[in-house]
């Protein structure tokens, strides 16, 4: 049971990360990552929708037949997206305006429908909700990382305008690079593609290093055991 939860987390956060490996939900990922505050707002909304849609899909999985599965799931997701949209309009209106149409477009984030179809229909509600949380975190971490990188390279600051999401965060802005004249490229669309490409390359590089170190470790163990055999 515990092992199951650990493997779900590992899958969602690294090996099968929705943003880095499955390349799902690229549109919001690239469009809303020009600053940390936008990224965080969308990350919260997407994670919330993922948890609740996975939970509900899993609860009704025995009642829904295969023929009407997809439309029903899309409607469930669309309902939760509408909830998120209305909540954001009520409590963080300027953030809602700054993210724009990418809040309603959470509906077409394939990562959410993908989890409903591949995971939630086969698993019990609590595990599905946990999977939703972890997948949401996996997506969010990349979204926020990309937002932080682009904000840092673009403006030399981090956490600017955080108060449109959290009212108490009005003085969170940190100037990392003083007297930085700004690098508009990072904030414009081409920058988003370039930074995402770099992140994907970094993931490949780290995976390669990990695999190499594991084979090295195995080789060393084999050598040691052979050596021990020879000695005896």
């Amino acid at each position: 049971m515990n092992k199951n939860l650990t493997s779900i987390s590992k899958q969602a956060l690294w090996q099968n990360n929705p943003a880095l490996v499955q390349l799902l939900g690229l549109c919001p990922l690239l469009a809303v990552s020009a600053s940390v505050v936008n990224a965080l707002g969308l990350a919260l909304a997407t994670t919330m929708v993922l948890i609740f849609s996975n939970l509900i899909v899993s609860l009704i999985r025995h009642q829904v037949t295969d023929a009407i599965r997809l439309p029903v799931f899309v409607l469930i997701i669309a309902s939760f997206v509408t909830c998120a949209e209305l909540l954001m309009q009520a409590y963080a209106y300027s953030l809602y305006l700054s993210i724009g149409i990418f809040i309603p477009l959470i509906v077409t984030n394939c990562a959410i429908l993908g989890r409903a179809v591949t995971f939630a229909v086969k698993n019990s509600p609590l595990i599905s909700a946990f999977d939703g949380l972890m997948m949401g975190l996996g997506f969010s971490s990349i979204l926020i990382l990309l937002g932080a990188l682009r904000e840092l390279f673009g403006t030399g600051k981090l956490f600017a305008n955080m108060d449109i999401l959290l009212p108490m965060a009005s003085n969170w802005e940190i100037t990392i690079l003083p007297n930085y004249s700004g690098f508009l490229f990072a904030l414009l669309p081409p920058g988003a593609f370039l930074f995402m490409g770099m992140l994907l390359a970094l993931k490949n590089f780290i995976d390669k290093q990990l695999a190499d170190s594991i084979t090295k470790h195995q080789n060393a163990q084999q050598m040691a055991s052979r050596f021990a055999k020879d000695m005896s």
Binding site: T82, E85, I101, V107
Partner: protein, 191 residues
């Protein structure tokens, strides 16, 4: 008339849906490995996108606004798009089985193409009229097709290139898209 042409040019080049507005990236990355696939996807998307932007305009103006339930627009539009995709598939199967054979596999994917829902929402936000909505949808689809086919051509060449190991696969595709996007930024201020 000149206004409609400006809408078209603006949607195809200046505010290109894929490279500048980040809509429809999933099919852009997913179906650009071969030119034939890219052309099939473009044709199917163009048809559905134009139709969807017209129908969603009608649904919004004559159903949601009179009943005062405009906050339900996300749900209403996704239902309209799914129904249209289904309808297109049946229509194609009955009238032209050959076309269905070529484009059929792309149709279900269009439901989750965010460009289709995005155009419907952008039309409402911009307050476009029926004709303007249709032209905006058509322009968006042409812009999507143009970039998708160009990108597929680039990727076919890219398969032959010697790319450093960590950058192979989606990573180099992203960086190629960054360069294309940079080129499309040059159209800024054209209209």
């Amino acid at each position: 008339m000149s206004e409609l042409i400006i809408i078209l040019i603006s949607a195809i080049l200046v505010n290109n849906f894929v490279l500048v507005q980040f809509l429809g990236l999933c099919p852009f990355m997913g179906s650009s490995n071969k030119i034939e696939t890219a052309i099939g996807m473009s044709a199917a998307t163009t048809f559905v996108l134009t139709l969807a932007s017209m129908v969603s305009y009608l649904v919004y103006q004559y159903l949601l606004v009179p009943l005062d339930i405009t906050w339900l627009r996300t749900i209403a539009f996704i239902v309209v798009i799914a129904a249209l995709v289904n309808f297109t598939e049946i229509l194609m199967l009955k009238t032209s089985p050959l076309l269905h054979k070529v484009l059929g596999i792309f149709l279900p994917l269009i439901t989750t193409n965010c460009a289709v829902l995005g155009v419907a929402l952008l039309n409402i936000n911009a307050g476009n009229s029926f004709v303007e909505s249709a032209f905006y949808g058509f322009g968006a689809a042409l812009g999507f097709s143009l970039v998708l086919v160009l990108f597929a051509a680039l990727r076919e060449k890219l398969n032959l290139a010697d790319v450093p190991a960590p950058f192979q696969g989606p990573s180099i595709a992203m960086i190629t898209a960054a360069l294309m996007s940079l080129a499309f930024m040059g159209f800024t201020g054209l209209v």
